[in-house]
Symmetry: C2
Subunit: 458 residues, 2 copies
């Protein structure tokens, strides 16, 4: 056997259908794909251009973040602990008007890529404006992604005339259909309360024409649910079904306010769901009924949502949060086991994007999208079961090495493909503009003490 890269001396969480775990395992990678795997001394017989000694660490499939707004790293922590409408109308929308341009979108996205890679995410599913710049940045960084152009029936960054929203989306999809093996274009309709039935169905037809994933926020807040029921006589999910957008190539983000009828509709159409526990918690939106959705056979992935509402993109924390949140909501420690949550963040996440034939597990023939966790740490000692360690103890910062399509993006916690210092500097510069923005003045002046106040004490 001759490999480009051989990773050995690992505990391998395959995330295959049997959830097999290999002790003293090894994986051989060639041409960007997983070519062989096994346990024990077999690796000694293999030749490889590069050998990586996992030193007993955990090797698992790269994590899949099923809901992101990458450029919103620019707004991380801009406004917290506020009612949703105040947060959106007084802070996020004005900030978007102030700074969002293709150049700033690129820097925000590169920073997001560095953050994702450094915490073990190898694939994300994004929706934002200036999707061209988002896609290019993710491609350049080296991650895998579904990247969608946002569609909304209001003036938006880069789409001042909403009548053109679908044609802008079409142009983007056309350009990115075959431009990168790692980037799949997509269309993201903002929500059933900001997109008309015509916009929704037009976007869905566009996706069908190109064979793409259709995305939409759905049933995120109680307000949305009550508003749509009172205006249209249908739940958010019911309204989307009526618009004809729900099938197995549709991904619904959030699904917090769904009832048994909605769950039956989602399950019946084999529509996929992205669960975003931390965003839903921080904005006080509610808890999606994941256990019920699982019972109905719905595939549910995990997302972080954008950095304006979470405020980070660490899927390790999101896994921990997912497992614990549903246990406490149901007062039942058995639901959403570590294994179930790891599946959600890997193979089920891949399935929500239609990529489960290529990624989401360590199996021969799949893309070599792999992450290696350094377990030689106090908080990862002892390890009685690796799945437990991954969900309940490991942190994104324990990810030592990250590979996408056989290419190392992170080596020993250093980003190998871009200069992260430049991204840090550029994002700090861009977000600095917001400091002088009227709507944020209250945040900036709060808590800043004068020297004199302290000099007097000493």
């Amino acid at each position: 056997m001759q490999f480009d890269t051989l990773i050995h001396n690992a505990v391998i969480l395959t995330c295959n259908p049997g959830f097999d775990i290999l002790r003293e395992g090894w994986v051989g990678v060639s041409g960007g794909k997983i070519r062989a795997l096994g346990t024990g001394p077999a690796s000694g017989r293999a030749e490889a251009r590069e050998r990586i000694d996992a030193r007993g660490g955990i090797l698992m499939p790269g994590l899949v973040n099923t809901h992101t707004h990458l450029p919103m790293t620019l707004f991380r922590g801009l406004a917290d602990d506020l009612p949703l409408q105040t947060w959106l109308n007084d802070h996020i929308f004005p900030a978007e008007r102030t700074v969002i341009r293709p150049e700033t979108v690129r820097w925000g996205t590169l920073l997001a890529c560095a953050e994702m890679a450094l915490s073990g995410t190898t694939t994300c599913c994004d929706g934002y404006f200036f999707a061209e710049a988002v896609a290019q940045a993710v491609h350049d960084f080296g991650l895998r992604a579904v990247i969608a152009q946002g569609v909304i029936d209001h003036p938006a960054p880069g789409v001042p005339d909403p009548a053109l929203n679908l044609s802008v989306a079409r142009q983007f999809c056309n350009r990115w259909l075959a431009r990168s093996e790692r980037i799949r274009p997509s269309v993201f309709c903002h929500a059933p309360y900001t997109c008309s039935a015509e916009t929704l169905s037009g976007a869905k037809r566009l996706c069908e024409e190109f064979g793409l994933l259709f995305q939409v926020h759905a049933a995120e807040t109680r307000w949305e649910n009550e508003h749509l029921r009172s205006v249209h006589g249908a739940s958010p999910v019911g309204l989307l079904a009526r618009a004809g957008v729900l099938d197995e190539r549709a991904l619904l983000a959030h699904c917090v306010w769904v009832d048994a009828d909605d769950i039956a509709v989602i399950a019946g159409r084999r529509t996929k769901v992205s669960h975003n526990p931390e965003s839903n918690m921080k904005l006080g939106s509610g808890v999606a009924p994941v256990v019920e959705m699982h019972a109905a056979g719905i595939t549910v992935g995990i997302g972080t949502d954008g950095c304006a509402s979470n405020n980070d993109m660490d899927l390790f924390q999101a896994m921990d949060m997912t497992a614990k949140l549903h246990k406490v909501m149901r007062l039942d420690p058995i639901v959403l086991s570590a294994e179930t949550v790891i599946r959600m963040a890997t193979i089920d996440g891949a399935r929500t994007l239609g990529l489960d034939g290529e990624i989401g597990s360590i199996e021969i023939g799949k893309q070599a999208d792999l992450i290696l966790i350094d377990t030689r740490k106090p908080h990862l000692t002892p390890i009685h079961h690796p799945a437990s360690a991954v969900v309940y103890a490991a942190k994104g910062s324990d990810v030592q090495t990250v590979m996408v399509a056989g290419r190392l993006l992170v080596r020993d916690r250093r980003v190998a493909t871009i200069d992260p210092e430049e991204a840090l500097h550029q994002v700090a510069r861009i977000s600095g503009v917001l400091k002088n923005h009227a709507s944020n003045r209250d945040l900036d002046s709060r808590g800043v003490a004068e020297v004199d106040h302290f000099e007097r004490k000493s």
Copy 2:
């Protein structure tokens, strides 16, 4: 000005009564205490034996973990996703009988200390058996702590005859009353359902005699609440009040199942509460009504609980979880702001232990228990407000430098006081014994695949 250590170029979260934040701040430390602080070039005029350039990072008081069982690092991840009684009776209790001895308690505690220090905790409040070994290990490591001998009316590790439980506790308290400036002894009664009224009041009298903190688990599970109400006609808190143990020097861990009457009792007696969100979530116990307790004026600190039920001791994650959990439970993003949660993990935590005159904020005259967060990271860029960054984006692994009583315990993420490799090795060795323990056989055999299975595929 002449200091032992001068930390400069920091954003200082003082956690003082005004929650003042100093930009370009500096702190001068001498004799283990904070002697001066200020902003700007004043630091240039000061002389110091050691200068630490914070490089723009966030300097804040060391975090206070108000509920731990340090030696239980030995059981991290031993058994997850199980009903509480199965977890306790079939896994934790047998494991304790198998491995808990003074020597193993020492290694488990040293590992816990390394984990706590590396994630920014400088003070903890513990209860376990062989408290002598726990106290010695924490003292040797260099952290600050309240360390309690556990008391229970059943045979326990080191106390096979429960008739001797209070005399064992008395001996421990006597020995540690003046042995270390950083360690305060305490007594921890297990729970109102495992300790008789005589045991509870005897332990409380012992604490009063020496001026010590009295600790007890209270109202953790629905079962406990219903059981005590049916057997004794009183809630857990009511029963503790009846036993005469509730005053301002009593700390109740959990308080999940407390009603308005219980909250009024706790508030009226100025009793303190430790909130353990992650343990309560993971075990499916419920959510403590922290917002209501705050409204009643109760001081609430944050704890991680032991590693058998969390499974880590990272208070940064616990802060994030606390802020988000209560927002989603009340569907209100305004409750438990970042500032409130930081107070809970610092000055309020100190107040629950009776140590708020010495630690919990960066103020002149207080102990130099300080942590420095390296903010030059993708997930900490940009920082619009440092309190938001600490709660919603920073991780324990961002803590770069840790000082207790002016002594550096962690420098550039390396433990300076013990050899952590030895603790890792010893804990792995001790916990390895459990692999052969009958009650854990199911966990160990699960998921281990054979080489042949994979060789066939390739």
